[in-house]
């Protein structure tokens, strides 16, 4: 008996939707097996991981807090990946945005006005876009692979942040902790209710709708999709390949930068050496799980946010490693890319009893 992959005549619309569901299912099954191998009761562990975070108000709010940056970055990456442009460095752009935006509370602490918050957002976007412009320029000017350059810049941005908060930007009254001054007043993102849900979530949702409209209803979205799928047809349409590379890097960089400044001016409230549990990398999974569709990214962002909270949950309750969340996220990306094969191919068993 032989197992073969056979190309479908047309891409399967059903598998396009079923693939993420199947991937989640496979992740849960393999996750259960891994918990069992670690000597934990698999069903209980899976319950704590996936269901428990949704059973009380506090953890639901935490899920929303974590979903905000994932969605903000994920929608930018969804657009970018559609153009066949591979910005893998959102984590670095998030850091750069946080750094530039934080200059206002650090150097202009006296400037208390709603405009100060807007200026922080703007600087955050500029910071992210500026860092993203480097791989874009290298790709366009010298043909350098953007996957490598954007990824390597992540470590540069993180080390820069590390140096600043331990050195020049350290809070002089902070007992030598590696932290900046605590932001306050209009330098903090407004929170809602008594929880920690902040304005960033609503910005993310609104921008997801805007980008959904752009991708599906405007010529710009059409341009991005055509350049990604058939660059020569893009040239025939008069669309610019380099223009699209710039647009995608600047857009996804700006959104990652915005996510960064919102994190430090929101849930964290100051600069510190580590400002993100790898939101920029997890957002890559979010973009694919959301089918590179900005609305799909909202749901995928919520799911991945649950995986963070669930990961903390199993760590606390079962004492497993805090790396669990990363294992689950890795499995999920692996399975979704695997299941996506089935959109264009079908599996056939040769030799035994015909097709399955």
């Amino acid at each position: 008996m032989q197992l073969i992959l056979e190309k479908r005549a047309q891409a399967s619309a059903i598998m396009n939707v079923a693939s993420p569901v199947l991937a989640i299912l496979l992740t849960v099954i393999l996750g259960g097996i891994i918990f069992a191998a670690m000597g934990q009761p698999p069903l209980k562990a899976l319950y704590i991981y996936f269901i428990d975070p949704l059973t009380n108000m506090w953890s639901i709010e935490e899920v929303l807090v974590k979903a905000a940056p994932l969605i903000l970055i994920g929608i930018g990456l969804a657009v970018t990946f559609r153009a066949n442009v591979w910005n893998i460095g959102a984590e670095g752009q998030l850091t750069a945005g946080a750094l530039l935006g934080a200059m206002i509370p650090i150097f202009f602490a006296e400037w208390q006005s709603p405009l100060a918050l807007l200026a922080m957002f703007a600087l955050g976007m500029i910071g992210g876009a500026a860092l993203a412009a480097i791989p874009a320029l290298l790709k366009i000017r010298f043909g350098v692979n953007e996957i490598l350059t954007s990824l390597m810049l992540v470590y540069i941005a993180q080390l820069l942040l590390d140096w600043l908060v331990r050195g020049p930007w350290k809070d002089p009254h902070g007992y030598n902790f590696p932290k900046s001054v605590a932001f306050d007043g209009w330098h903090l993102v407004p929170m809602f209710g008594d929880g920690r849900v902040h304005l960033g979530l609503f910005i993310a949702l609104a921008l997801a709708v805007v980008l959904f409209w752009m991708m599906n209803r405007t010529i710009k979205g059409f341009e991005i999709k055509v350049i990604g799928r058939a660059p020569r047809a893009g040239a025939f349409a008069g669309f610019s390949k380099t223009g699209t590379v710039w647009f995608c890097f600047l857009l996804s960089g700006a959104l990652a930068g915005l996510a960064g400044i919102i994190e430090v001016a929101g849930p964290i409230g100051q600069l510190q050496p580590r400002i993100s549990p790898s939101y920029g990398f997890t957002a890559i999974i979010v973009a694919f799980l959301g089918r590179l569709n900005p609305i799909g990214v909202i749901f995928a962002g919520l799911l991945l946010a649950i995986s963070y909270i669930g990961g903390e949950g199993v760590q606390i309750e079962l004492g497993v490693s805090d790396k669990t969340a990363q294992v689950f996220q890795g499995m999920l990306l692996f399975f979704i890319l695997m299941c996506d094969t089935l959109i264009h191919y079908r599996v056939r068993f040769l030799g035994a009893k015909g097709a399955v």
Binding site: A9, Q10, M214, V226, R232, A237, G238
Partner: protein, 523 residues
């Protein structure tokens, strides 16, 4: 051309194929094919694009595995696992598209493709001997990049011959050759068959099949519809077998009026943008209102580069190099030129003229988003794309140009080659452009679609548009063109009235008779 040394071999046929079928999913590419090839004979495999010829030979050559049926080689049923196994048996194949490394020499390319035991000794020496024996002049030390397409094909043939094949499969070998080069190839093939080698010759050029082949098997829609003696048939009866019905005849009246120059190329010089592209040198051309000018030439002589230069996919520093309707537009983008009422149809449908996995309406937007239709823009910024309007245009094109698809707004890739070409051409003709530039208008489409497209081009020109057709198909050129020029290595010949030009003259021009010596380029 008898071959007594093989007449006594057991088994009448060198290769037999019995009830061979190949399914791709639900699609039956080959349905119960029977084929029998005798040693020392040239056997034609005829059929339109999509008839299943390539699938069949790929199974014989081991590149595809049949779903059912038998392949019998010298009276033994065999299984051809891969092309290497086929070569081991003595089956060689010359593909339509060559896979050669341009930066390597002839010998290096051949060496890479040979099994290790054949690489030894003085390969250059063997190549030189073999190529001169078979009338395939080839310099073993030449760089492939410097060779013409005809010479590149010789490399592939010599590579096959080094392995002493019993059966040589040739996939549309003359598609890339000048008439003179084709004649030389026929000489080689006759020489081979006289030594007992069999040739399976795939083509849809009926005249050459009549001239060359001893047997013909004709495929249509994946089935064998006839096995005939091509010498006993006429081109018209062969065509009927291939198409299944008699072909629509094109109506044209000659002696019509022509008007102003709507498209002018003045000393168009354009260096190639890739190392192995073709530089355009001093191209001059005028196309008047009401006429069709055709550019003949062997593939890869700068047709693609010329198309991009006229369409604006590549812009030119010299404003006056391209003049559309009296506007100098060397620096204008493709959309700027479209706004001057010019329209363009590239050679490649999939991935250039259309995006395969986008619906037809999106593909209308592709080439028409920058021009208004009936005074209306097709998209309005953030207000979005006017899908209703695109649907209307799509319906219009489908009706006027007989585009058949499973659903009204199917993905472009799901249309057959002929229907997609009708769509891609119809999309531009629907605008009633004043200037149309079309590269290979009927490349790889069935005869019915080709006739419809050619008729539509003639009709448009008679309404006063200027049309430039770039084509490798001489039949098509004589059917359409009022005037003809020939391109060779990026240089364009003078333009001749079509009725004053014979096929032989075009053949001479194709091989570069009009080219200037390389050092004498003016600026």
């Amino acid at each position: 051309m008898s071959n007594p040394q093989h007449a006594s071999e057991p088994g009448k046929y060198l290769l037999e194929v019995r009830s061979l079928s190949k399914l791709f999913g639900d699609f039956c590419a080959n349905d119960q094919i029977n084929l029998a090839i005798e040693a020392g004979k040239i056997h034609a495999l005829l059929g339109e694009n999509g008839a299943g010829k390539s699938t069949l030979v790929k199974m014989i050559y081991g590149a595809l595995q049949p779903t059912s049926g038998d392949i019998i080689w010298q009276a033994n049923t065999i299984k051809v696992d891969n092309p290497a196994a086929a070569r081991e048996l003595g089956i060689g194949m010359v593909f339509q598209h060559f896979s050669l490394f341009e930066a390597l020499t002839v010998t290096e390319n051949i060496s890479l493709a040979l099994p290790p035991q054949l690489r030894g000794g003085d390969l250059s020496q063997r190549i030189a001997e073999l190529s001169s024996n078979y009338g395939l002049p080839l310099n073993p030390d030449a760089l492939v990049a410097d060779l013409s397409v005809g010479e590149r094909q010789r490399i592939e043939i010599v590579r096959c011959l080094l392995q002493e094949p019993r059966l040589l499969i040739m996939d549309e070998p003359t598609a890339v050759l000048t008439p003179q080069e084709a004649d030389a190839l026929f000489g080689t093939l006759n020489r081979l068959t006289s030594e007992g080698c069999a040739v399976l010759y795939i083509s849809h050029r009926l005249e050459e099949v009549k001239q060359l082949c001893h047997d013909a098997t004709i495929l249509r829609h994946g089935e064998v519809v006839a096995r005939v003696d091509p010498q006993a048939e006429t081109a018209a009866t062969l065509a009927q077998h291939m198409v299944g019905s008699s072909v629509h005849e094109i109506k044209r009246q000659d002696g019509h009026d022509t008007g102003n120059n709507l498209l002018q190329l003045i000393n168009l010089n354009q260096p190639a943008d890739t190392p192995f592209g073709v530089d355009l040198l001093d191209v001059n051309l005028q196309v008047r209102s009401g006429e069709i000018v055709a550019i003949a030439g062997v593939a890869g002589n700068g047709q693609g580069e010329l198309f991009s230069a006229i369409s604006g996919e590549t812009t030119n520093a010299d404003f006056d190099a391209v003049i559309i309707d009296d506007v100098a537009c060397g620096q204008l983008s493709i959309n700027g030129r479209r706004q001057l009422s010019a329209a363009f149809v590239p050679e490649e449908r999939n991935g250039h003229g259309a995006v395969a996995d986008c619906p037809l309406t999106d593909n209308i937007l592709l080439s028409r988003h920058a021009v208004r239709d009936q005074g209306e823009a097709l998209h309005k910024g953030w207000l979005g794309i006017d899908h209703q309007h695109l649907d209307n245009i799509n319906t219009r094109i489908a009706k006027a140009y007989d585009v058949r698809s499973a659903t009204m707004d199917a993905e472009a890739g799901s249309l057959s080659g002929g229907n997609l070409q009708k769509f891609v051409v119809g999309r531009e003709l629907d605008r009633q452009p004043r200037v149309l530039v079309i590269n290979q208008p009927t490349w790889g489409v069935d005869a019915g679609a080709a006739a419809l497209i050619r008729q539509a081009l003639i009709d448009l020109s008679r309404q006063g548009s200027a049309i430039l057709v770039i084509s490798q198909d001489l039949d098509e050129i004589f059917e359409l063109a009022d005037r003809v020029a020939v391109i060779s290595r990026g240089q364009l010949s003078e333009v001749y009235a079509a009725q004053d030009l014979s096929r032989e003259q075009i053949g001479l021009l194709m091989s570069g008779a009009h080219e200037k010596p390389a050092h004498a380029t003016s600026s």
